[in-house]
């Protein structure tokens, strides 16, 4: 038996199992061996869970032995971002504060993934509590981009993007609040999907900004991303914000016709691009044009206000969500805990990293007496305007195509000292989160020195099927 763990896709795993070229247990062992060997290059995994992986693989082999279908992810090696909990598996959120946290329950996405036959190999590195755009805010060291080891993988789901790019998992789960799936997908050259808000249950996703948080898949092709989303999507009574909308068969929808689709290019997203990024996106648009899509110029006029609105809303929600890390319930308490207030303040002061502190402070400030209307309420109103921009655009077009990031992966340390500049790099991804619409990053070429570039596709609420169809058509045509 020889298994090329790095090159597998979901369908390759299915074929390998059907043709008995390997068992799920053999594949899990080989995938773990390969991942543990390769991981020091990137620091993408924080920890592995071999027992859980082999247990899941054994269930797949038993199902196959009984002649049953092993599930749509049967035997597929999967990685999960370390903000999505799995019972009994350490979950750090990239934070010192949760360095030893062993969650007592499974996230719904994890349950569904394993019920579908997925084999979780381990948990992936990320910015602390998913706050960052480079994975440099992890308390456990940064992740290196597999395409260029001196560069960041993007963030906050940098580990989940890197493992798929590196071949140390076939697919992975990340979370996205302001671009944390799409931007690392673009930087690492893989597919990353932020589904419609509410499409995937967040039960068991450690909360950052609840009106913006999403769980979504990473994969090496559109079909695998669609397959993983199909497994984890759908109403869950454990998350009251999860949507009732039925989940269509994305694979069936994917093969549909794209001729005649109207694609909007919002002019606000095409000013100020690094030139190679702009060139590659326009080449991709040309491919869509050749496929028979009609390309039209549109405007999303409130785009320039998105960063401000986003960083008010997300920090306000974060300051509230992170109040629970107080030294009482979660593993770490400061030794300076003479009084209750000492315990709260010292535990949090010692435990949180610089970016989390900055966001807690900003969020507390914008919610504080006298500033609420000027900042938080104002930002929520601007969020309405940004959402309305998209609604109006989708009356004219079927999908919107933009860059994911103004530039490709930057060097480690390059933007670390300037938080505002780091925030500004999220400009093209946060609008989709504010509106709650589905959006994805799709690889579309590289720079001259080989850095991946991502194209973003956005569609209407719950139209993931339309998004996948366009992405798949592009992927096939571009080769």
């Amino acid at each position: 038996m020889s298994i090329d763990a790095a090159g597998l896709t979901i369908s390759a795993v299915r074929r390998g199992l059907q043709e008995k070229r390997f068992s799920a247990c053999e594949l899990a062992k080989e995938a773990l061996r390969f991942a543990e060997r390769e991981n020091p290059k990137t620091n993408a995994y924080l920890h592995f869970c071999p027992e859980r992986a082999l247990e899941a693989a054994r269930r797949v082999d038993e199902a196959l032995a009984r002649g049953e279908h092993p599930g749509p992810l049967g035997g597929v090696p999967v990685a999960v971002k370390d903000v999505i909990v799995a019972r009994g598996v350490r979950n750090t959120c990239g934070s010192r504060l949760l360095a030893n946290y062993i969650p007592p329950y499974d996230a719904t996405a994890v349950i569904r993934l394993e019920q579908a036959g997925g084999v979780i190999l381990g948990k992936t590195n990320c910015d602390e509590f998913a706050m960052g755009s480079s994975t440099e805010n992890s308390a456990f060291g940064p992740v290196r981009n597999p395409a260029a080891l001196d560069r960041v993988p993007g963030g906050s789901s940098g580990g989940s993007a890197a493992v798929v790019a590196q071949g140390t998992a076939v697919v992975s789960l990340g979370s996205d609040t302001g671009g944390s799936i799409r931007q690392p997908a673009a930087f690492c050259g893989v597919v990353g999907v932020t589904p419609t808000y509410g499409r995937v249950s967040r039960y068991g996703l450690v909360a950052f900004a609840s009106s913006l948080d999403h769980i979504g898949p990473f994969a090496r092709n559109v079909s695998d991303a669609a397959g993983l989303l199909k497994v984890i999507a759908g109403r869950d009574e454990m998350d009251s914000t999860s949507a009732f909308a039925p989940v269509p068969d994305y694979h069936a929808a994917m093969s549909g016709e794209v001729r005649g689709l109207k694609i909007g290019l919002p002019k606000e997203y095409y000013a100020g691009l690094a030139s190679e990024t702009g060139d590659q996106i326009m080449k991709a648009v040309e491919v869509l044009n050749r496929l028979g899509c009609q390309v039209v110029d549109i405007s999303l006029p409130h785009t320039e206000y998105a960063i401000s609105a986003y960083y008010i809303i997300c920090t306000a929600e974060a300051s509230s969500n992170l109040a629970r890390y107080d030294g009482v319930r979660y593993t770490i308490r400061s030794s300076c805990s003479e009084t209750l207030t000492d315990m709260y303040r010292s535990t949090r002061g010692e435990g949180f990293g610089a970016e989390c502190k900055r966001r807690i402070m900003l969020g507390t400030y914008v919610l504080s007496h006298g500033y609420y209307d000027a900042y938080y309420l104002k930002a929520q109103k601007v969020r309405s305007l940004i959402t309305r921009d998209f609604q109006q655009a989708f009356q004219q077009v079927d999908a919107i195509v933009t860059p994911v990031s103004p530039f490709p992966a930057f060097k480690l340390g390059e933007k670390l000292s300037d938080p505002l500049e780091m925030y500004l790099s999220d400009i093209y991804t946060i609008t989709g989160d504010l509106a709650g619409i589905p959006c994805m990053s799709l690889p579309c070429g590289t720079t001259a020195n080989g850095l991946p570039i991502g194209m973003q596709i956005l569609t209407k609420h719950f139209d993931e099927a339309g998004m996948f169809r366009l992405a798949h058509a592009y992927e096939q045509a571009a080769g």
């Binding site: 946290y101 062993i102 969650p103 007592p104 329950y105 808000y197 509410g198 009106s211 009251s240 914000t241 949507a243 909308a245 409130h302 320039e304 206000y305 401000s308 960083y311 300051s319 109040a323 107080d326 009482v328 319930r329 979660y330 593993t331 770490i332 308490r333 805990s337 009084t339 209750l340 000492d342 315990m343 303040r345 010292s346 949090r348 002061g349 010692e350 610089a354 502190k357 900055r358 807690i360 402070m361 900003l362 507390t364 400030y365 504080s368 309420l377 104002k378 929520q380 109103k381 601007v382 969020r383 309405s384 305007l385 959402t387 938080p419 505002l420 925030y423 509106a435 609420h461 719950f462």
Partner: protein
Amino acid sequence: MKITQDEVRYVADLANLRLTDEEIVRMTHDLDEILTHMEKLNELDTSQVEPMAQVLYEAEETATLRQDQEKPTLSNRDALGCAPLGGGGYFKVPLVIER
């Protein structure tokens, strides 16, 4: 200046976050820069705009309510399992009220 060091200290107290003197200096600088950027929102007249607190889609108002039925939940032991200090089925915290 949008924010002073004294205001930063006050907000840190509200957030129950102990910051060192160096952190206060850095935080004041960073927050000032970020809040100045956020001024941009004031260019927009939003007096006629409804705030958006949540992404809404069509569903019955009561759609997310469930039946009021007993169900198994986390055991006391599991819930306390990650506490830094617990005992007797409770979380233990420093003295709150002096006798």
